[in-house]
């Protein structure tokens, strides 16, 4: 090697070393540098757009020119809450979200409990894959498939008729508000589809949370005289609450914001998501769309506060 090449190599090497030791010494700076891309994304793309949305909701639309007037006003919010139709939409969406969350929790708990604490390793793997498999399918395909399943000529109706349970279906569909001409055009059907869609999001955090309950704690509870039911209520459920809370956040917020399922399956009533879609699209009323979007945010904030108050995050 020529002396020039050696010199070049050393210089390059020492530059690299200089840079690395610079970062080693100023490791906070290095950390900031690493975090810069995600922070930029979080700050501008996510928080920034959220803030822009919030800002929009404080503007109003001029009814004559159909353009947005960039003047801060509460007129849009007033419009949102004064019209009974709008309040109906909010309550309807909220009601559906609560119902879906409760139903998902009730269905998910036994399954998650079995998966976490009683299943053999092979069965556990099988169940985990089984729970996650629907998530690998297209969302739209699943929704339309359910519309076909729930239709009057659909397979669910056929099964129930064959085994003679169609009076049950008739009775369910005759219920006011949630019933309808067929499952595919009733809130009941919509509810079923929502629960189906979000169930994996409830099962997985719940199973993870239940799995983290140490066996020795359950044994300690039994050792101290608690019957299995008591152990379940006083030890297992409180320790599984973080998982339940996490799962319920998914089901609650996903239902609040969804606009595809209500438009494909179910009764004609509007949901928040659909309103947002419509207002920002055809109606061009961005402020109202923004105002509608703020509602789920506030609802989730209230929900999280309630959950925290009830001790859902105590065991974390």
């Amino acid at each position: 090697m020529t002396s020039a090449a050696i010199a070049a190599g050393t210089t390059r090497g020492s530059l690299r070393r200089e840079v690395s030791s610079f970062f080693y010494r100023r490791n906070t700076f290095y950390l900031l540098l690493l975090l810069l891309p995600p922070l930029l994304w979080l700050g501008t793309v996510y928080l920034g757009s959220l803030f822009a949305l919030l800002l929009q909701s404080f503007y109003a639309i001029d009814e004559f020119t159909a353009t947005v007037v960039p003047k801060v006003t509460l007129a849009t919010y007033r419009q949102l809450f004064s019209q009974p139709a709008n309040v109906d939409i909010i309550l309807r969406t909220l009601g559906m979200a609560v119902a879906v969350t409760i139903a998902s929790a009730v269905i998910a708990f036994p399954l998650a409990n079995y998966m976490a604490r009683y299943a053999s390793p092979r069965m556990k793997a099988f169940l985990y894959v089984g729970v996650m498999l629907p998530m690998w399918t297209s969302y739209l395909v699943k929704v339309y498939a359910w519309r076909l399943i729930l239709a009057k000529q659909g397979i669910l109706n056929w099964i129930l008729t064959t085994i003679g349970l169609d009076p049950l279906l008739e009775a369910a569909l005759a219920t006011p508000v949630i019933g309808g001409p067929s499952l595919a055009s009733s809130y009941l059907g919509m509810f079923i589809v929502f629960v189906y869609m979000w169930l994996p999001f409830m099962i997985l955090p719940l199973a993870a949370s239940l799995e983290r309950v140490p066996q020795s704690m359950i044994q300690a509870s039994a050792d101290l005289g608690a019957r299995p039911g008591q152990t379940f209520r006083t030890v297992i459920v409180p320790l599984a609450l973080p998982g339940l809370a996490a799962g319920s956040i998914f089901t609650f917020s996903l239902t609040l914001g969804d606009y595809i399922i209500p438009s494909v399956v179910g009764a004609p009533g509007y949901f928040i998501g659909m309103m947002v879609y419509q207002q920002q699209g055809t109606a061009g009323n961005i402020p109202l769309a923004a105002a509608f979007s703020v509602v789920p945010i506030i609802l989730i904030a209230i929900y999280l506060t309630l959950a925290r108050r009830l001790g859902a995050f105590d065991a974390l």
């Binding site: 140490p214 020795s216 704690m217 044994q219 300690a220 509870s221 039994a222 050792d223 101290l224 005289g225 608690a226 019957r227 008591q230 006083t234 030890v235 409180p238 320790l239 001790g311 105590d314 065991a315």
Partner: protein, 340 residues
């Protein structure tokens, strides 16, 4: 009076592995009984059989004379202090301790009062409102103890409770536990792999190896008269001399044990007086322990013996690694071992 705990030919199989192999024992009421053995020897499984977390594959477990096969843990008058304490993180310390009363339907005020008394007994007054997550290891251990004692069980099981504590704390806790047991007069069954703990605390010790009891005796009995090579080595770290060397030194073709502190390094060779056995060896290692030193020597046929020599300062030692020494002991100190 019926034994507090009795095992009648109890076995516990996991597939083809016998974790507990035909174990029989009887523990008297009010006794401090230790189950001693290395990991995997079956002592913890025996504890779990008493508590009710395991059922025997064969044989019977009796508590106070009654067969408890099939009886779940919440119906046995037995409580356990777990190795990882198993405190409930979502309850305060006082609620943890009061748990045993709560599940039996004792009213809130009453159980709170009794829980506070229990905390005072284990010297943790005033810490009732803390969360278990804020306690040190020693404090958690006391809470676990208080929680297990609140139901005033007939038997308290302790599964290596002092393993996670540092030496000083462990020694202090050993004395405290022993005092507590004497004060409460409850039967304690203590699982440990530390022979020092078992010897210092227990009234009787069962030494376990591979699912069987090698010897069940008082601490003194185990130390002075080990029955098998395993017990001799495990309890007290005695030397076990087998084979040809044993034959040469003792005249019998049987293994024998000789405790390290019964041996002397400086046999002069001509102390061929009656009853003195000696053996030539080379020093290979020394460990200084303050009050004494532990010497490792290798005999001519390759056996490694340990000699413990008190450092009383009377005779300065001039041996180093590689020195040739003559280890000797009196014949009466040799303990003949059973063939296993």
């Amino acid at each position: 009076m019926a034994a507090a705990i009795e095992f009648q030919q109890v076995s516990r199989r996991f597939g083809s592995v016998k974790a507990v192999d035909e174990v029989s024992l009887a523990i008297a009421p009010g006794e401090f009984f230790a189950l001693l053995g290395p990991s995997g020897s079956g002592k913890t499984t025996c504890l779990r059989l008493i508590a009710g977390f395991e059922q025997p594959s064969s044989g019977h477990v009796l508590l106070d004379g009654a067969d408890v096969t099939g009886v779940p843990p919440y119906e046995r008058n037995v409580n356990t202090v777990f190795q990882d304490y198993a405190l409930f993180p979502h309850m305060s310390v006082v609620d943890n301790v009061a748990y045993g009363l709560r599940v039996r339907g004792v009213a809130g005020d009453e159980r709170r009062k009794r829980a506070e008394e229990m905390l005072a007994l284990v010297q943790l007054e005033g810490l009732g409102e803390r969360s278990p997550l804020q306690l040190s290891g020693g404090q958690k251990q006391r809470v676990a103890l208080a929680r297990a004692l609140i139901n005033r069980p007939a038997v308290l099981l302790l599964d290596e409770p002092l393993g996670a504590l540092d030496l000083k704390l462990r020694e202090a806790m050993q004395i405290e536990l022993k005092n507590l047991q004497r004060q409460l007069k409850i039967t304690f069954v203590y699982v440990t792999h530390d022979q020092g703990e078992a010897l210092s605390m227990a009234d009787r010790v069962a030494v376990f190896d591979r699912g069987r009891i090698e010897q069940l005796d008082t601490p003194r009995g185990l130390y002075m008269r080990p029955r098998t090579a395993f017990v001799a080595r495990f309890v007290g770290g005695a030397n076990v001399i087998e084979g040809d060397l044993a034959h040469r030194l003792s005249g019998a073709a049987r293994a024998f044990a000789i405790r390290a502190e019964s041996m002397a390094l400086d046999g002069t060779g001509n102390t061929a007086g009656d009853g003195v056995v000696s053996c030539a060896a080379t020093v290979i290692d020394v460990q200084y322990h303050g009050a004494s030193s532990r010497w490792q020597v290798r005999t001519d046929d390759g056996s490694i013996l340990a000699v413990v020599r008190p450092e009383s300062g009377s005779s300065p030692v001039n041996y180093t690694i590689g020195s040739k020494v003559l280890v000797s002991w009196t014949a009466g100190q040799m303990v003949a071992l059973e063939d296993t």
